[in-house]
């Protein structure tokens, strides 16, 4: 006998893997199914973004990237790409979770499934895209003989980021159902976050102190900075962030992920009536 009135543990989502697989397949299908062009198309947006940022910040503003881990070259575009992959994944999970719940929420009034399933499906869709981007990036770096065992740690970093982003995405998605302008405000907040995270610039160009504030430490406190910096260290600098920083990232991710999930759980208990 299953008590339908108190379902919703962590394990429940595993029982709905078929549904999540279906949702991911649907999302990816829409993006990649038609042709080989579909794949190219999906890479067009990140590639264009990368090109624009590289042009503006690398060429026009002449931000100096550090030397790559093998000591033989420095390249702003690649340095930027290492952080941008992380950011794209973060951004994709947040916006994907929000639109997925709105999109599929109407079904919740007619059939039961765990309300986090759409967000989890959005996460996997984004991870798929991130894997492609990262593969291209790593391939280029390997061609430039800038490769080390630190590459192997990168998926772990992506896992931490996923948990972190999912926690935030879940909370925002449920608020987005309740208040229609949350999505709008979130987009603005994400834009702001993009520029206070060292992505288009190295952390080193931020002055230690400005306007009487410890600016660099403030930027460093932004958890996303940890992820983008660590990604650069692992892939570009061939350096490893150390147990302490990795542990800290794991801790923050778990706290945000679990906290967000719990909040989501409480708020979605009666979501079928709200939608």
């Amino acid at each position: 006998m299953a008590d339908v009135t108190c379902r919703g543990g962590v394990l429940e989502i595993w029982g709905y893997r078929e549904l999540i697989g279906r949702l991911v397949q649907r999302e990816l299908g829409a993006r990649y199914k038609r042709s080989v062009l579909g794949w190219l198309w999906s890479m067009l947006n990140p590639a264009a973004t990368l090109a624009i940022y590289a042009l503006v910040f690398g060429v026009l503003l002449k931000f100096d990237p550090p030397r790559a881990g093998n000591g033989r070259f420095d390249n702003f575009a690649l340095y930027l790409f290492c952080a941008l992959v992380m950011w794209n994944a973060f951004y994709g999970v947040i916006t994907g979770a929000m639109s997925a719940l709105l999109d599929l929420g109407s079904l919740l009034g007619k059939v039961y499934f765990p309300p986090e399933a759409p967000a989890v499906a959005a996460l996997f869709t984004v991870l798929f895209q991130a894997a492609i981007e990262a593969s291209i990036l790593m391939l280029i770096l390997i061609c430039l003989v800038n490769v080390s065992w630190t590459f192997l740690l990168w998926p772990v970093l992506l896992l931490f980021l996923s948990i972190f982003a999912l926690g935030i995405g879940l909370v925002l998605s449920v608020w987005n159902v309740r208040y229609r302008d949350v999505g709008y405000l979130a987009t603005i907040a994400l834009q702001f976050l993009f520029y206070v995270t060292p992505i288009v610039y190295p952390l080193s160009i931020i002055p230690e102190r400005a306007m009487g504030l410890p600016t660099r430490d403030i930027i460093r406190l932004n958890p996303l900075s940890q992820f983008t910096e660590a990604s650069r260290e692992l892939l570009y600098g061939l350096d490893w962030p150390g147990v302490l920083r990795l542990g800290l990232m794991a801790l923050i991710s778990l706290a945000v992920g679990v906290g967000g999930w719990l909040m989501f759980k409480v708020r979605t208990r009666d979501i079928a009536e709200e939608l």
């Binding site: 006998m1 299953a2 008590d3 339908v4 009135t5 108190c6 379902r7 029982g15 709905y16 078929e18 549904l19 697989g21 279906r22 949702l23 649907r26 999109d103 599929l104 109407s106 079904l107 919740l108 009034g109 007619k110 059939v111 039961y112 499934f113 208040y179 229609r180 302008d181 949350v182 405000l185 208990r269 009666d270 079928a272 009536e273």
Partner: protein
């Protein structure tokens, strides 16, 4: 595994009827409705109890019927059973994979094609893709949607929606099937197919919980029934007992509310209304059930608020599948009731009831003398119970009560 497929224990469900809440953060921040600048009312609305202390046990492998008038909480109860709504109090236990067909949408995503929705629905119910691959053709055929299956479901008609929803719900091997009255949307032929399929499922041991207004169908098919009235379980038990209890109340309430009932068709006041229908036998009694072949007198009571000259009365007899069996009209034989004013009645006398046993609903209508304006109509309000099959092996819908003779 217990003997029950679904156990509902002391379930209450409260809805907070909040119509006035901020819809955006901006509104929440300013406390005002955008556009009008009106402040949100501070008073919290009255809670509405859709279900109150409902306890039911649905035996495994049974067909369980729910009756009750609109708004009595039937659909809420089904949603609670399906796990969509969380009960405010009490608990629900369900043993087995549950498939629910609750409303027209049936859990479809409008932008996806029928085929994609089949997969989506199946995956919601936890059915693996490989299993659905084998059944897609069967589902499409059952729904009769071969031409449209690859079009987005938002272009589907309501009938197509329901057919596809039903087809999916019954083809995913549910152990418990929860069906709201949606099936009534399909055409006659599809309804018959649905019921025969439900029968087949029950024969395989599937537990079925069914909401319907079709009392004849419920009585013929259900093992147990419950009657919900304003969120309370008013009766539970054998179908016949529950239906009788339900009909008794309807009759009493209908009689008590004469003249106050809003007309369904035009909403306004009509000068001539049908207040009630009564079924009499030859002796002037009103038995609960009639026997096939007996005489029957249908008395139509009316209330005319202004004098009306020679209106035309008509009756409609329908069987439990809503098949129109007969529709006698008063002016056909040249009958003229004269000038009607105030309260009164007209009668339709039937020498021998031609219907075979079952429940029949009788509609009544009244029009003006040239049958061009409808004063009033009462549909599905009155039930005629016929029992006493003279020949249980007879086929067809009617007993013609003819005589046989031989000659050479």
């Amino acid at each position: 595994m217990g003997a029950n497929a679904v156990v509902v224990e002391g379930v209450s469900k409260r809805f907070q009827l909040v119509s006035d809440r901020p819809l955006s953060l901006k509104e929440a921040w300013t406390g005002k409705r955008l556009g009008s600048g009106r402040r949100f009312r501070r008073v919290s609305s009255e809670p509405f109890w859709a279900l109150r202390d409902v306890s039911l046990e649905v035996p495994r492998g049974s067909m369980y019927g729910l009756v009750g008038r609109n708004g009595s909480g039937k659909s809420t109860l089904l949603r609670v059973m399906a796990g969509i709504y969380r009960p405010t109090e009490g608990r629900v236990e369900v043993a087995g994979r549950t498939s629910a067909l609750l409303e027209l949408g049936a859990g479809f995503h409008p932008a996806l094609s029928g085929r994609e929705n089949i997969y989506l629905n199946a995956s919601v119910l936890g059915v693996p893709k490989s299993q659905i691959d084998d059944r897609v053709d069967q589902i499409v055929e059952f729904a009769g949607l071969e031409e449209f299956i690859d079009s987005p479901v938002k272009i589907y008609s309501s009938g197509m929606y329901v057919r596809l929803g039903f087809a999916v719900a019954v083809h995913v091997d549910p152990e418990i099937l929860i069906v709201d009255e949606v099936v009534a949307v399909g055409d006659e032929e599809f309804q018959l197919r649905c019921f025969s399929h439900l029968e087949a499922l029950r024969a395989q041991g599937v537990t079925i919980v069914l909401v319907s207004h079709d009392l004849g169908m419920l009585r013929a098919n259900c093992d147990r029934m419950a009657w919900l009235n304003r969120g309370l379980v008013a009766a539970v038990g054998e179908p016949q007992d529950v239906i009788n209890a339900y009909l008794d109340t309807i009759d009493t309430e209908a009689a008590a509310s004469v003249g106050h009932r809003p007309r369904p068709d035009d909403g306004g006041e009509t000068p001539l209304r049908i207040t009630r229908l009564e079924f009499y036998d030859e002796a002037g009694h009103r038995p609960k059930t009639f026997s096939s072949g007996d005489p029957l007198i249908v008395r139509i009571h009316y209330l005319a608020s202004e004098p009306i000259e020679d209106p035309v009365f008509s009756l409609g007899f329908y069987d439990h599948n809503n098949l129109h069996l007969a529709g006698p009209r008063s002016h056909i034989g040249g009958f003229r009731p004269g000038k009607l004013d105030g309260e009164g009645w007209v009668e339709f006398r039937l020498r021998r009831i031609p219907f075979r046993s079952g429940a029949f609903h009788v509609n009544a209508a009244v029009q003006d003398s040239d049958a061009s304006y409808l004063y009033d109509r009462r549909a599905r309000d009155f039930w005629l119970q016929i029992s006493g099959e003279p020949d249980p092996q007879a086929n067809g819908l009617l007993n013609l009560h003819g005589d046989w003779r031989a000659g050479s």
